[in-house]
């Protein structure tokens, strides 16, 4: 074990030098985390007890981001590897598998929660990997992280336990805030008309209906006809809502076309889905991301 820690440290020190960071402690264990949402959560629990290397950059796609050769080698020498699982990190899977084969201790978040399957669409029956839209399930993951991180040689379990308790309070506050905020939405309007595919867990926890809709793209919006809008218009009418939560390259144009062609007065609002942003860009940590989405949903539906 001792030899391995030394190997980790030299690799970590190299990484630190190359990225221009200044190490304040050189005797810390290393935790490698795949997604930036889990990276933020792990940092909250770890504090200064270990180094945390998050592989996924801000605003990236968790399914397909690339890692450098240096990061791949660090991953093999980590003291703990934290991943999302449930098929999310498809591009990284071979690295995760080979690290596991090298006996790197791992924690797969998806194994710690009550996972949901997609109800419909091409992926029906497959597990939905986007558990983080439910803070309750994130609390389950945090409880498991407490144990896994405390087991790492060189960290102080007392500190980890205190950090975990503090962060669980934050998550409970978030959960309470969300539940409270959503009660302001009339029950029959708790419907997300959306092309975002990540809100199944949020809907499950807080009693929303998710109404998947085809959002007309740029080529249709350029010269639209009623048939282009039929699916979305009927989804909006069924849901009885005035806001659709859509990723669209031209949200204003979409709202205008819906007004002109279908007489629908709706707003088009985007939510944060699979990645944190860079600091200052709106969703720099998990708690902020969830709070911003909650505010947007409540504003849009009340």
């Amino acid at each position: 074990m001792k030899t391995r820690i030394l190997a980790v440290l030299s690799a970590a020190a190299l990484a630190v030098g190359a990225t221009g960071c200044t190490p304040t402690a050189t005797d810390r264990p290393l935790i490698v985390v795949t997604t930036n949402i889990l990276g933020d959560v792990v940092e909250n629990i770890v504090g200064d007890e270990a180094g945390v290397l998050t592989l996924m950059k801000p605003n990236a796609d968790p399914h397909s981001f690339e890692i450098s050769a240096r990061e791949a080698s660090l991953l093999h020498t980590a003291d703990l590897l934290v991943s999302n699982g449930l098929g999310l990190e498809e591009g990284l899977q071979q690295h995760l598998d080979s690290a596991a084969a090298n006996d790197v201790p791992k924690l797969v978040a998806g194994d710690q929660i009550d996972a949901l399957d997609y109800a419909d669409g091409d992926a029906a029956g497959m597990p939905d990997s986007h558990f983080w839209t439910d803070p309750g399930r994130m609390m389950d993951v945090v409880a498991a992280l407490d144990t896994a991180i405390s087991d790492i040689e060189g960290v102080d379990p007392m500190v980890i336990s205190a950090n975990t308790t503090r962060y669980l309070v934050d998550l409970q506050d978030l959960d309470d805030t969300m539940a409270d905020a959503f009660t302001r939405i009339p029950e029959n309007q708790r419907a997300l008309v959306t092309n975002h595919h990540v809100f199944g867990y949020l809907a499950d926890r807080f009693g929303f209906r998710v109404i998947g809709a085809i959002i007309p793209g740029g080529t249709t919006l350029a010269a639209p006809s009623a048939s282009d809008l039929r699916d979305l218009v009927s989804a909006v009418n069924d849901a009885g809502v005035r806001t659709i939560f859509a990723e669209s390259s031209q949200p204003d144009r979409l709202a205008q076309v819906l007004a002109d062609e279908a007489g629908l007065d709706v707003s088009v609002v985007e939510l944060y889905t699979e990645s944190l942003t860079a600091p200052g860009d709106g969703a720099e940590d998990y708690l902020t991301m969830m709070q911003v989405n909650t505010d947007r949903i409540v504003t849009g539906l009340s």
Binding site: G39, G51, G121
Partner: protein, 389 residues
């Protein structure tokens, strides 16, 4: 401290080769919807691409001569039968399928490189590799798509055969190659490295393979051969035509990734091939069709370009349901230009090039075949491909 390193600068060391073959490119930008573009090739080989969202044009490059183009939605393969070459253009626009959802990317278009061979090339795009067969040398070449994304032309394998106009197509971790000629043609299964596995199926007068969400459909003289993956092995099935006089299909086409493509039934109309149900259905047309493509699975909708230059929408149950006016009167009079005319369908719209008219049409097939937009081109759009799908 280490925690500050959770968002490191882009690494100067080479990145590891991960990914599932669609190839994430450093420098690509993820966008909210498919970055759909029309790519055209002029008579003098100029490659231009128009953004269908804002109608802006960009010049990508130029080749000495181009005799045909094929695309997988991202890479455009421009063949030159006289020089025996295939030039590869990365349109920089693509869509990744993640089963439960899609991701869309935009990067700078570029010319990737050239594959050398001899004679006309038959090009068959696959999910992670692209098969090319050169008719005059019989060479079969399998290109690695992920390498193309990195800007490299990498041949997974190259096999020599007797000179013949055959095809090579990827299917899962295998490849399918036609061997022999005319009624002696068969389809053999190769490993991903190009080794002959021994499995094969007869397919007289094999036509152009078409990949659907089910497998690869290869038109044969009297039936259609369907190859699919069945627990790590290739399974061959034969799909029979219903009895009747309509000529069999020699190629199939459909919008990206759908299970039911359509093929010309000679002058009798079109064949709708359902690779899920393993059925072929004749959809008759009063007017002979020059080209066909399928747009939907459930309604069985097919688009056809009639010999008088209209785009007609057919329903498998009800026949012709809508049609445009004649769209390319001058092009119809010039057989050399007509050869490059291509009718392309995506989820919402169809596109057609009218080279002699210097026009591209956008057709809303679900709204009575309305012409949604018409784009004037500076050069004659002799060949057309839709990218970003």
């Amino acid at each position: 401290m280490l925690t500050a390193c959770s968002t490191p600068e882009p690494s100067p060391v080479p990145t590891s080769s991960i990914g599932d073959g669609h190839g994430f490119v450093v420098g690509a930008q993820e966008v909210a919807e498919p970055p759909l573009h029309l790519l055209t090739v002029s008579r003098n080989g100029a490659i231009d691409q128009m953004d269908l969202l804002d109608e802006s044009w960009a010049e990508i490059g130029s080749f000495e001569s181009v005799t045909d183009i094929v695309t997988d939605g991202r890479y455009v393969f421009a063949s030159d039968a006289e020089n025996g070459t295939v030039a590869i253009i990365d349109s920089g626009m693509w869509t990744r399928d993640h089963e439960d959802h899609f991701h869309y990317y935009r990067a700078t278009p570029r010319v990737v490189g050239v594959v050398e061979g001899d004679g006309a090339a038959t090009i068959s795009p696959g999910s992670s590799a692209t098969g090319i067969v050169f008719a005059d040398s019989g060479d079969s070449v399998m290109l690695d798509n992920a390498a193309l994304g990195d800007g490299d032309v990498v041949e997974r394998f190259r096999l020599s055969d007797e000179r013949h106009a055959g095809s090579l197509v990827q299917l899962g971790s295998f490849a399918l190659r036609t061997t022999g000629e005319a009624e002696e043609t068969s389809v053999q299964v190769l490993s991903g490295d190009g080794d002959v596995t021994g499995a094969k199926a007869a397919c007289a007068d094999a036509g152009i393979p078409f990949t659907t969400s089910v497998g690869v459909a290869i038109p044969c003289a009297v039936d259609v051969l369907l190859a699919s993956i069945d627990s790590d092995d290739i399974r061959f099935e034969r799909i029979a035509y219903p009895t009747g006089d309509a000529p069999t299909a020699t190629s199939f086409d459909a919008r990206e990734g759908r299970p039911s493509p359509a093929g010309r039934a000679g002058d009798a109309g079109s064949w709708l091939l359902d690779t899920r149900a393993r059925t072929l259905t004749l959809v008759p047309s009063e007017q002979p069709l020059l080209q066909v493509t399928a747009v939907s699975d459930d309604g069985g909708h097919i688009l056809g370009l009639t010999i008088d230059g209209r785009v007609t929408v057919f329903s498998a149950d009800r026949g012709a349901v809508a049609t445009t006016k004649p769209l390319l009167p001058n092009t119809l009079a010039q057989p050399d230009l007509l050869a490059g005319v291509t009718l392309i369908a995506d989820q919402q719209r169809a596109y057609l090039n009218a080279p002699a008219e210097h026009l591209l049409y956008e057709i809303d097939f679900a709204d009575s075949a309305r012409i949604a937009r018409t784009f004037a081109t500076e050069n004659a759009p002799v060949f057309l491909a839709e990218t970003g799908r």
